[in-house]
């Protein structure tokens, strides 16, 4: 399956001025230039993704999750396993939303993005296993969206730039809506039972989880999110760096 790279070329002009407000680099070159190939850490031809424990690292990490989601939905639709018009409508919308999040985060990061979409290597058999039938697809969507919520929430207390925090908040509630929407399609409750969580109570980091249980979307550390992503077996790229250590 190919990643949808076309949206990169369609980057809206919205935002040179606004991006400068973020105190980041200019947009023009940012979308086109990646890290020089010679500097890339290579692992068997697959680029390792390195996330530092700072705002830029967190945004890059969020970008990775958005890329995975943005790749999943078009593949889910293309699988032909989803035939209900309402379900197709939802998955199409989610795919558009995630692509917009990718575009937004790449716009913010500019040349501080640590990988390009084309650097990501998907594990095709792993992905196919998630696309085997309708229930698998929709439940995987729930897993991805729930995980995205926990991941953004977990990153929220580490961000230092208030605009990044507000942007993360603006995105994460949409991910929560996605999770609830697909859960509803499946007849599952919109909120997450403890037993459904990929990180169990005992493993939740205490200082960022004053509240636990169904009424809360607990905060996962990036390291916990990496483990959860690994369990999905969809990404070949090694992940490292101080953020996920």
């Amino acid at each position: 399956m190919a990643f949808p790279v076309t949206f990169l070329a369609k980057t809206a002009p919205s935002s040179r001025r606004t991006l400068l407000k973020w105190g980041l680099v200019s947009l023009g070159t940012a979308m086109l230039t990646g890290v020089p190939k010679a500097l890339m850490a290579q692992t068997g031809g697959t680029k390792a993704l390195t996330f530092n424990a700072d705002d830029v690292g967190i945004l890059n990490f969020a970008l990775l999750l958005e890329e995975l989601e943005a790749a999943f939905y078009p593949a889910a639709i293309k699988s032909g396993k989803i035939t209900d018009p309402k379900e197709l409508d939802y998955l199409s919308a989610l795919g558009r939303h995630e692509a917009a999040h990718v575009k937004f985060l790449r716009g913010v990061l500019g040349n501080k993005a640590v990988f390009q979409t084309s650097d990501l290597s998907l594990n095709q058999p792993g992905l196919n296993a998630l696309l085997s039938d309708r229930a698998k697809i929709l439940n995987t969507a729930v897993t991805l969206e729930d995980l995205g919520v926990h991941a953004y929430n977990g990153a929220g207390t580490s961000l230092t730039n208030p605009t990044y925090l507000l942007a993360a908040g603006s995105i994460v509630s949409v991910e929560g809506r996605h999770a609830a929407g697909v859960r509803s399609l499946l007849g599952r409750p919109v909120t997450e039972m403890d037993s459904e969580r990929l990180v169990q109570n005992a493993d939740l980091q205490a200082n960022i989880n004053p509240f636990k249980g169904r009424a809360y979307d607990e905060l996962y550390t990036p390291k916990q999110v990496v483990a959860a992503v690994g369990s999905l077996k969809v990404l070949n790229n090694p992940i490292n760096g101080s953020l996920v250590a």
Binding site: A100, S173, V174
Partner: protein
């Protein structure tokens, strides 16, 4: 400043929208309250934006950030007020679903009301504990014994499933925006705000799940032209159009925020005594036991009405 004008201006230009009546009602009530506060009544139309600015908008506030800086304790008091209101709203909805006007609602909707109400009650319990740990008194954060829920739609929202779900959607979407509107205040508090920020984030997305769940029910059960996410800024009662922000809040892919002042202006009429002119005869038991404070509308009011 612009936020205020935008927000004040928006309801005036959305006359064709279904929530027009809600806006008008809220604005009328808010105007009335302010006029009451400021004895020599000046034209409310002219003075209201100026008042709001002078009262609430710190001159140093970033153009696209939130307005007044609240302490973590103030944020918790404010959040607790909203949660108490939400919990009360669902308690009444569940009661109406058991043997009242909502008894005919589908089971899936009834189950959602019960579940969401339990979540809000849990938020009240846990935020109360946090407030105590910050030296505050959760029992001093009160809502009226009989909130004026008619202010939401201009009629009893518990009378039928259609109105209940529409009102619930407005309330939950606003709740999401309200929590989002406090994250920068909590970040600004540094380490002192970290636990509250973590808790607020953990609640924030659950409110989004509730909002999405209600939206799904409206789409599925009532054929409403709505999705779990916000496709158009006109679907919500707060201002999603923040022109100065680099974040495209008004698009479906991003959710907007609301400042405390904006939320209180919207929620105030629910939390204050029903005005005689808006009451219907069968509403005679509704007046609040907690009249709006008639003096000192300064930020010292915090989450208390």
């Amino acid at each position: 400043m612009k936020l205020c004008f935008n927000w004040m201006g928006q309801p005036m230009v959305t006359t064709a929208l279904p929530n027009h009546r809600f806006f008008t009602l809220l604005l009328n009530q808010f105007n009335r309250i302010l006029q009451h506060i400021l004895a020599p009544a000046v034209s409310a139309v002219l003075i209201l934006p100026l008042l709001l600015m002078s009262l609430f908008f710190a001159p140093t506030a970033p153009a696209y950030a939130q307005s007044a800086t609240l302490s973590p304790r103030q944020v918790v008091e404010y959040a607790l007020t909203l949660e108490k209101l939400e919990a009360d709203f669902y308690r009444r909805a569940v009661a109406a679903a058991q043997n009242g006007p909502l008894a005919s609602a589908p089971d899936v909707a009834k189950a959602a009301l019960v579940s969401y109400g339990q979540d809000e009650a849990q938020h009240v319990t846990d935020l109360s504990a946090v407030l105590r740990s910050l030296g505050g008194n959760p029992d001093a954060v009160t809502i009226p014994a009989n909130p004026n829920y008619q202010a939401i739609l201009g009629r009893d929202p518990f009378a039928n499933p259609t109105d209940l779900l529409q009102a619930g959607q407005f309330v939950e979407d606003l709740g999401v925006a309200a929590y989002k509107g406090q994250v920068q205040n909590l970040l600004a508090a540094g380490e002192a705000g970290k636990t509250v920020l973590a808790g607020a984030l953990a609640i924030h997305t659950v409110e989004a799940r509730h909002a999405a769940g209600i939206r799904f029910l409206r789409q599925t059960l009532l054929n409403a032209d709505v999705r779990p996410w916000i496709r158009n800024a006109s679907e919500v009662i707060y201002n999603e159009n923040r022109g100065d922000s680099p974040i495209p809040f008004s698009t479906p892919e991003f959710d907007g925020y609301a400042t405390r002042e904006e939320v209180l202006a919207l929620v105030g009429p629910i939390l204050t005594a029903a005005q005689p002119s808006t009451m219907t005869p069968d509403q005679s038991v509704a007046p609040s036991s907690q009249p709006m404070r008639s003096t000192n509308p300064s930020p010292a009011v915090r989450g208390l009405w």
